[in-house]
């Protein structure tokens, strides 16, 4: 009779989740599964609503990355109002959105590194859980904790200035943006009192990359070997192959670097990607049609983006990108913990992009919106902090949303996260009869590398139920608990 061990909760991951590890009769890992209870139903909720409401409505989905949903929806609606497919907006419209997006990327990545990842790195996988958090970082490495706080704050201020407000921002509208940046706002970001200025943010972002490289040098076995496995990678890239987190064409490569999707127009994403439903998970499993359900899964996010892009169009990040690429001799990097490295390179890139944009006079102009001939279908893709985010809308003759389909970044990473958990479970759990704190955290570290987020956006006190379901070796449910 096989045994089953259930680990939960997955701390520091949004939403509801549990990991089940099935042991065989010899005590070795037979099967692992990451179950995440994803809130579905949003697509139905927007049906019947006027299409122009979508960029604000979708922010109800998630209080963690509302900007990504806001912009992906706006990009889809750009198509519907005849404003082009992402590169047809006025210069002010596109650049304000880009600034908003890079502000979001910067603050989200900073949060992940300083708040979620650095405790694992600084205190080790088997570190004391009481200090293995940002409080522990604050006590031992106060400079890092302060930098994390201020980088988050800077990014949030950029979002507020471009989206209009922190909650339910209205900045992006179909066909453009509803405000430009004021001179005062621009100057506050360019020349704000130390440390709240873009020069300091770039400097700190560079320091964070250097911190990781130094850590990597001392901990090569862990960083290179932990939860490493080959995979395909997918992201947007600019038409010339550059990393572009706001807009581009869809590129997918396999574990050896061979192109599977060769820079295709994402308006036709459903010609290339489908989603599989599995009976043990509420979250779907996207896959590339060309490779089929079994082999078509792929990774998205910082690691995937650094693998698919040919170069990064800002100098400091490009320099770090070259070091990153040279580490694997130009081949795709399939090491899960290098996700942190890639994320920090992107953080630096986002800071450089913000500086470039803030110095662009187009941000101060008032030519904000463009519209053309309306069509009934639009798809908007964006590289959200956690990976490629898909928004697809179709409207009827009354301008109501008739169909919506969203593939969120974490869903794209569903299978890779399961693979990562499986890899770590086999390494740490084989032959073990009980779960130590270190072993449990090893599983969580593997998941955290992907920075999954399944927030249902409701966080009221006490509102975080976790479900434990037990099945016997014949897959019969023998117990179910809800915390």
């Amino acid at each position: 009779m096989g045994q089953k061990i259930t680990i939960e909760p997955v701390t520091r991951v949004e939403g509801h989740g549990k990991v089940t590890i099935h042991l065989d009769d010899k005590g070795n890992v037979r099967q692992t599964r990451l179950h995440i209870v994803e809130f579905r139903g949003f697509e139905r909720f927007v049906q019947g609503r006027p299409y122009w409401e979508a960029p604000v409505l979708v922010q109800r989905l998630c209080g963690i990355c509302p900007v990504s949903h806001h912009l992906a929806a706006a990009k889809a609606l750009d198509v519907i109002v005849g404003a082009g497919t992402g590169d047809g907006l006025t210069p002010t419209g596109e650049k304000m959105r880009r600034l908003m997006h890079y502000g979001q990327m910067f603050q989200s990545h900073a949060l992940h590194f300083f708040h979620l990842a650095s405790p694992d790195l600084l205190f080790g996988v088997d570190g004391d859980p009481l200090i293995r958090n940002v409080i522990g970082v604050a006590l031992k490495h106060k400079d890092l904790a302060v930098q994390g706080v201020m980088m988050r704050k800077f990014g949030q201020e950029i979002i507020k200035a471009t989206a209009g407000k922190k909650i339910h921002g209205t900045g992006a509208i179909p066909g453009g943006i509803n405000k430009h940046l004021s001179i005062e706002e621009r100057d506050s970001f360019l020349k704000g009192a130390d440390p709240m200025n873009i020069d300091k943010m770039i400097s700190w972002a560079q320091d964070a990359v250097d911190f990781f490289k130094a850590y990597h040098k001392e901990n090569k076995d862990f960083i290179d070997g932990f939860a490493a496995f080959p995979s395909s990678h997918l992201s947007l890239v600019r038409k010339d192959g550059a990393m572009d987190l706001y807009h581009g064409v869809l590129r997918a490569i396999d574990a050896d670097g061979k192109k599977i999707l060769n820079d295709v127009d994402y308006q036709n994403y459903d010609d290339y990607i489908d989603e599989e439903v599995k009976n043990w998970s509420y979250m779907k499993f996207p896959y590339l049609l060309e490779l089929g359900k079994e082999n078509g899964w792929y990774r998205v996010g910082p690691l995937a983006r650094c693998n698919t892009a040919d170069f990064i169009p800002t100098p400091l990040a490009q320099k770090e990108f070259e070091i990153f690429k040279n580490y694997t001799n130009g081949k795709p990097n399939n090491m899960s913990m290098h996700m942190h490295w890639a994320r920090l390179i992107e953080t630096l890139h986002a800071a450089e992009m913000m500086q470039e944009l803030l110095n662009d006079p187009d941000l101060l102009k008032d030519d904000l919106v463009i519209k053309g001939t309306k069509v009934k279908r639009g798809v908007g893709l964006i590289e959200a902090p956690r990976g490629t985010l898909f928004h697809h809308y179709e409207i009827n003759d009354n301008d109501q949303i008739e169909m919506a389909n969203l593939i969120v970044s974490t869903t794209n990473n569903n299978e890779p996260m399961n693979r990562a958990v499986n890899s770590v479970a086999k390494e740490y759990m084989n032959g073990q009869k009980e779960i130590t704190e270190g072993m449990r955290n090893a599983v969580e570290v593997a998941i955290r590398a992907y920075d999954p987020c399944l927030s249902c956006a409701t966080h009221a006190l006490g509102q975080m139920p976790l479900e434990i379901t037990l099945f016997d070796v014949h897959n019969n449910m023998i117990d179910k608990k809800r915390s």
Partner: protein, 158 residues
Amino acid sequence: MAEKLQILIYGYGNPGRQDDGLGNHFVEKVKAWAEEKGLSNLSFDSNYQLNIEDAAEISDKDIVIFVDASIEDIESFELEEITPDAKVEFSMHAVSASYVVHLCRDIYQKSPKSFLLHVKGYEWEFMEGMTAKALKNFEKAFGYIKPMLLNPQKLLDY
């Protein structure tokens, strides 16, 4: 002078999820009331949830009142003083009020007197607007907190 104490009222939640917007609603209403009363020592903020940067925001305040919706078994609202806590929670893309206070103390060496006002909510679907019962709870909480804002010594003595 207690009336000169700098007080931050920080409501959080998602107003697109019915009663989860109680914290934000509270801030809107108290802000309007404070402007009417000319209470210049009060400042306000709202967000979907709390996060680490809020440690910086509260660091120059004397008193902080976080306001959130609650599904816990309480009468209508509760005001409790926050004890700093470094506890890691399941959901850590957002942090608790006690975590923010703890972080503020550790990295800024500041400990504003901090409270959590939790107001009972009932419905959490994808809809704007709060339930009538939640709004009643808000009114009660608002009525309770007003005298304290007019005389912050009451908060210091709480």
